[in-house]
Symmetry: C2
Subunit: 128 residues, 2 copies
């Protein structure tokens, strides 16, 4: 935090660009299905209907849209094989590995934060 902030205080331009970079990162991971999809495709490449099986509750429309998003962001490759009918396989790209540290940090902080919240809830309850 300190490091980022120190850079930001001098001028507002840079601060905004920092915020925007962070927001971009948050944005591409956001939504109900992005993470489940990435994780299921990390296990193995799959076809459309397979993915729908793996990720419980997602509808074709949303799946289609989410896969398109992931493809545009370079996380997923859509491979079409000219069988009859065509076979479409979705696979994770090596670029997804760049997410490693972000996801790890998010996981660590999220876990820690959950414990913190739970603890503060408990204290509140004790008082009341």
């Amino acid at each position: 935090m300190k490091a980022i902030v120190d850079e930001q205080i001098p001028n507002r331009e840079k601060c905004l660009s920092n915020v925007n970079a962070i927001r971009d990162a948050l944005f591409v991971l956001n939504g109900k299905w992005k993470l489940p999809l990435i994780f299921t495709l990390l296990e193995r490449s799959q076809r459309f209907n397979e993915i729908q099986q793996s990720v419980q509750g997602i509808t074709p429309k949303i799946l289609s849209k989410e896969l398109k998003d992931l493809e545009e962001n370079g996380f997923v490759k859509r491979c079409v094989y000219p069988t009859t009918p065509v076979t479409v396989i979705y696979e994770i790209t090596p670029y997804s590995d760049t997410l490693k540290s972000v996801l790890h940090e998010l996981y660590l902080w999220g876990t820690q934060h959950r414990d913190m919240i739970r603890e503060s809830m408990r204290k509140k309850k004790d008082v009341s």
Copy 2:
């Protein structure tokens, strides 16, 4: 990524809890105003109307709600001084420092990703 994934494949329970921890982290930072508010309060503690000045375009209702969110998550402390009329100062808590590494990673990855996207856009344009 690899580290997280390796832990996840064995059982689905743990995978889901990982995803949820990450989602929690994403959730508390998400939205249009959370980051701008955190950053402006990092510069200095401020009163309600001051914040509204600092963060361009936010309406009182939204500001009120967002501050409440930030307070519940432990990032912001609401200090009421019994003047007449009351003075309310919002200040950043030390707990916000725990965001340091997450935000830094998000910033790094977001910047990198933006460059990547821009580059791939350029290539597309060259072809067409």
